[in-house]
Every structure is written in C-alpha cells, then in structure tokens.
Symmetry: C2
Subunit: 408 residues, 2 copies
C-alpha cells in the first residue's frame, strides 16, 4: 500500500484490512478517536463498538512536525525506526515494551497494545506517586536492551546489521545534536527566548565556555560512539506506568549510540523532578524516595548489566579464555563504571538543555510562579554543571546523590 495520511475515518478502514487487528477485535465494528497530544504524530485509540474496553493504539507519522504543520517538514521515516526498535526491544524484554499487532514502514504506521491502566510517568511523579517497582523494572529494561544490542553480546556481523538498520535515522539524531547539545547553550531562535532575554543566568550559561567545551566532548561521544541500540529519548514522558507495570514507548529516536545516553536521559528527568519538588512542593519524603530510586536504578543497572555479561562467555568482543577471571572481572568493573560516568555527563547536558532550549519539561518550565521557576532553573543549571564538569571523576551512585543534595 502506498503512503497516505489517515484520519479518524480512514484509519478504521485501513485497520479492517489487517488480519491481526480483525482477529484481535473479533468484530468489524470499530471506533476511532484521536487521542494524541504529541508534537510529532497522529495517535488514535481504536476500540470495539460492542466491547469498548477492547482497544488498540494506532500511531501514524506524517511527513511534517504535526504540532506546527506542513510548513515544518520532518520525514515520516522516523516511524520506520520506531517500528524496528519496538520489535527489537520487545524481543529482548516483552514485559516492558507494548505489544505490536501490526506495523507498516510503507504506511509509517504501528498498531499496538492500548495501555489503559497506565499514565505518563512524568504526570505521576509531579503528583508525587511513588512507583515502588520502577527501579527494578527500568534497570532491567535498560541493562537488557543495552547489553543485548552491544558488541559484548552480539556477533560482529549481527552488530553491524543492527547499525545498518538504524543508521538512516539521521534526522532525529540531528535533532538531538542540535537541540540537546548545541542550541540551548547559545543565542538561538529555537530557544525559549522570552525567558532568555535579560536573564543573567542565561547569559552566564551561554558564556560558560568551560562548561560548553565539556558539552562538546559529550556531543562528540553521542555522534561517534556505537555501543548499543538506544531508545534515544528515554525521559519520563516516554514511560507509561502504574503501580505494577512499566512500559517504555516512543523509541523513534532509536539508533546505535553510546550506552550512557539512555541512562543519562532517565537520570536527568528524575533529577528535574527532584528539583521541582524541592522548589514547589518541598515534599522531603518524596524527594528522599526519588533519591533512593535514582540510586537503586543506577546500582541495579550496573549489577544486572554485569549479570547478563557473566552469562555470556563468548562474544565479538571477548573470546572465551582471552582473559583470566581476575582481569576479566576488573575489565568489566571498569566498563560499567565508564557507562555510569558517561551517563552523568549526558544527564548534565539533558538537564541544562531543558532550561532555555526549545523543549522544556513540565517540572521546570511548567512552574507558573516566575520566582519559583527561576529557582528551579538555577538549581537545574547548578546540578547540570556539576554533572558535566565532573562526570569522568564519578565512581559511584552515592557521589551522584551527593551532587544533587549539595545543590539543594
């Protein structure tokens, strides 16, 4: 089928031509409602007329930025990478990725499980919901997806094929290069310029060349380090959650990049939430839970990554018997420590870019009171700077918590 943009009517017509979808519903009477509030794509909830609780999600990419319109072209091939990533991550750990019922790269569409009892994690965290199983879930998701798509687990051939499958996701990688690592730290039309004007902190940031030199170092890692298949945009808005379940969605930024980028994205978003509460709700108990959660995520991530590694005796990287037990152990320890360090560096970039860059987060930019917002921004910049300037000296999760607490 050749590509066409679907609407609330034609999406039903399209889906009725898909065997797996008709089988799922067991009926041909379907309803579609547009539910997406995303910037990029059209998202429909499709449900059975007879049993409305039976539902699927259909998500279609259009060849422009949806929230702006056709005058901001953005190739719809981003959906190709989302489809491929969903498929790959689902194979590695189906528990944490929505089940896909149908996908078409030609139509830039994916039809998947409707997560009816889950909310966007960012909303939950703003409302101080403690997700007690989250650290366990997300540390498994991150360690498994990163480990099993790396050269430590894959053969050289399979790793190169994986790189090939995602190498074309240039446009979204370029978005990250620009909007995470460059424009938010200099005068630029894409910034939140209403806030930038006459703002001493913005001026200070834009002239903080020592900091920006380190950002460039991290940007270079992002551009050239082909460790593993990343989600590529793992913030708390890409996580659907409830008490018992965690789903990671929207991997359209997926590409083979540096390990630390996903871990760092999550870290940045949890710290931004911590900052929000330290300024707005001052709920010290929730803040303490957040810190504990950050520590658990990082420690468990390292532990599980090493566990997967110990189950995998032979790989493209490490031929069985090449090292003895002690040196292999030392090598692995250094290896995960380096992931931790890089994660802190990337987290710093990701936090700082949310302050004046084009895409703000609810926790900081959403703070209505101008004074409080300013406080939150200053705190975010302070922690971000510590992260970026010292990331390569970090050895433990405790040192990360110290930086966060000392800034508060």
């Amino acid at each position: 089928m050749s590509y066409k943009v679907l609407d609330v009517n034609s999406v039903v017509e399209y889906l009725l031509s898909i065997k797996e979808v008709v089988e799922f519903f067991g009926t041909e009477s379907l309803n579609a409602v547009e539910i997406g509030d995303g910037n990029l794509n059209y998202v429909y909830k499709i449900s059975s007329e007879q049993e409305p609780e039976k539902a699927l999600i259909a998500k279609q990419a259009v060849p422009y930025l949806r929230c702006v319109g056709e005058q901001f072209p953005l190739s719809r091939e981003r959906m190709t990478y989302e489809i491929r990533a969903l498929e790959k991550f689902y194979k590695i750990f189906p528990n944490f990725v929505p089940k896909v019922y149908h996908s078409s790269e030609a139509m830039s569409i994916v039809v998947m499980e409707y997560l009816d009892s889950h909310i966007i994690m960012r909303e939950g965290l703003i409302n101080r919901v403690k997700y007690t199983k989250f650290s366990e879930h997300i540390s498994t998701y991150m360690s498994a997806t990163l480990f099993y798509t790396s050269s430590i687990a894959m053969s050289s051939l399979n790793k190169r094929e994986l790189i090939g499958k995602f190498n074309g996701n240039t446009e979204l990688c370029k978005l990250t290069e620009d909007l995470v690592f460059s424009f938010p730290f200099m005068e630029h039309e894409t910034n939140d310029n209403e806030n930038v004007e006459n703002n001493v902190n913005a001026k200070k940031l834009f002239e903080d060349y020592e900091f920006k030199e380190r950002v460039l170092e991290l940007k270079y890692k992002f551009m050239t380090q082909s460790d593993a298949l990343l989600h590529g945009d793992l913030h708390t808005g890409s996580i659907m959650i409830n008490e018992n379940e965690t789903y990671v969605i929207d991997p359209e930024f997926a590409f083979v990049g540096p390990f630390g980028f996903d871990v760092g994205a999550l870290l940045a978003n949890l710290v931004n939430n911590y900052i929000h509460h330290s300024v707005v709700t001052k709920d010290t108990e929730f803040m303490e839970w957040l810190l504990q959660t950050i520590k658990e995520i990082l420690d468990k991530f390292c532990e599980k990554f090493l566990n997967y590694w110990s189950e995998s005796k032979n790989s493209a990287l490490c031929v069985a018997g090449f090292l003895n037990e002690k040196t292999l152990h030392d090598y692995k320890k250094r290896f995960v420590k380096k992931i931790l360090k890089d994660s802190v560096g990337f987290a710093g970039c990701k936090m700082a870019r949310r302050v004046y860059g084009v895409a703000g987060v609810a926790e900081i930019r959403g703070v209505k009171d101008v004074t409080l917002r300013g406080e939150a921004e200053a705190l975010a910049l302070l922690i971000a700077r510590e992260f970026v300037m010292n990331y390569d000296k970090i050895d433990t999760s405790d040192e990360i918590l110290e930086i966060i607490k000392n800034a508060g």
Copy 2:
C-alpha cells in the same frame, strides 16, 4: 555483467569492452601478465603491445582466500569497499592515491594507474632507503583523509551515509578483530605455532593478562568508535613509494572506525623496521632517520589535522560561535592529543600481533638467524607492551621516541 573469475586471457577481453581503458591505451592490442603476490586477489599488469611502457593494473577479488584456495571462502565484496575507499580518498587527495580508470562492484574488479617507478615501502626500508619526503606526504594523507571523513568536517547526514557505505565490510573488520586483537595473544591454531611451542616469551605474552586487558580496551574502541573513514590496514606493505612520490594502495579493510587505528598501524610498522635494523644491520644512522621520521609524521599529522580544522568553521560537531577562541583551541588540542594516545595503543597491538600471529612481517619473522629473530621478537614485545600499557599517558611524540630508544 554478472560476476566471473577472470584469467590472463579473459581479463584482456573484459578490458577491451571498457571505454576508458581502450581510450587510455589508444589500441586494442593488449598484453596481460599476472603479477600479484598478494594473499587475497588476482593482480594483472595490462600493457599495450605497441608501447609496453603504457600500462594499467587490473585487480580482481575472488570469493576465497587466493593463497589458500577455494576451501577458504572469503567474500569478494571486499573489493566493493576497496573501490569505494579508493574513490573517496582520491577525491580528498588525488596525489597519494592511484587513479582509477574503471571499477565494477559486480565484477569485483578495479583498473588503476600502474605505478612503474615505485616499490613497496617495506622493501625499501629493509634496504635502508631514506624516503625524505615520506613524512610530509603521509602526514598529509592521514590528516586529510581522517579529518575530511570525520564528524568535524562532514554534516551529520553525509557522515551517516559514509558509515552506511562501509558498514557492510564486516568480514574484513572481523579479520582485524580476530587477527590483530585476539588470536595472537592466546593459544590459537592460526598462530605461528612452530615458534610458539616451548617459547617462554610466547607463554609470558599469553599469560600477560594485565596487557591483554588493555588490548581488550583497544579492541572495543576499534569495534565501536566511528570517528572517520580508515584505510584499515595502513602498513608499509600498503604503500608504494619512490624518492618523490607516495601512494597508499589496497584499502580493502576500509570502514568508519577510530582515528588512531591508521596512524597506529603506520607507527607500528616503522617501529618494527627500527627493531629490524637495531638487531640485524645495526645501522644507527638509518635508525636515527627512522626515529626522526616517526617524530615528523606524528607532529605534522597533528599540525595538519588542526590546520584543516581551522579552515572549517562550522560542522556537525561544532556550530560556529559555540565556543570562544580559547576554549575551542583547548578542545582541539585535547582532541588531537587523544588521537595520538590512541595511535600509540593501536600501534602496540599491531606490533605485538606480528610476533606470533598468523601474519608476520619481513622485518621480524623474516629474520633468518633464530637468535636474532628471537631478539627482534623480544624487543617488539617490550615496546608493544610499553605502548599498550601507557598509551593514555602519552602527550608528545618525544615520549614515544623515548619508549622506543629505551627498549633498544
């Protein structure tokens, strides 16, 4: 045309169907002689019957390792990457790359300039020929090819397209992973096992886990760092040279990998030649020239790399105006210093692998006298170990020379 293996007769027939070739010779009376002594491919010298000094080289890859035969399959697609690399490198700096008259990925063949007044550099160096223009030439070649195929010079889109063009060169990358970074440091059937048996130095090397842990670190860089388009096998056997000209040939191992790998390969081969002379000819004057040449190559490489960079104000990595002059300067200095460090590490791996690995070099394995050969091997392992253990502490070319001289 569908692929078929050519012989000394059919290669002429094939070439007569190529317009550029017929134009070059201006005649249809051509002679072909097989001249290749390579391990992998068939190489023919094609010349005009009327004017025998008018000649071209035709090189065809066969789907097996030529020196072993059809029982050792190796996909002929390696020629695809050689063709693409020759084309890319020629565009960057035509002076140092043979001119291609015809190529066909389907036929796995390339027809190029015949370098009649040049010899393989390794032979020249063994015979103590001082190539006084070499450091100037090769530093330009390396700095230009590496700089202009990196994310510092290219747009994100072009860089990713470049990665895509070479990403499929898996087989030869895997050969390097195995034969440079793994098998030569452990018991393995591919090694020079006649020499390994009952050899205390081999036993010591295979059990030097501290060294091998560092080799693994460098192997990981080789596998995952996508800095620039590499030649991939830049030893002195891949260089055709005379007093005035330098040509880099045989880029079939080309892929987008770490900057330091090409520079390191060359460094390793020059040091191996130094070791040869320090043990065999004891020609201190030539040895001094070699050291001076190494220093000049490394210093000029860094200088020229920085010069190209200063001409390139805006790139995927560094948006114009992102840093101020001082921090950009510091960043660039650190950047090339890191290339130097990595080069030393890769040089160490490349030197050590020549000692017991499958592919020896004439300078060491070719030494007939067993005692002298043992001395050369020990010296190579000593320098290689210093390189690998200390590569990340190296700051200047002088420190590299010190390591070489102190070992002697």
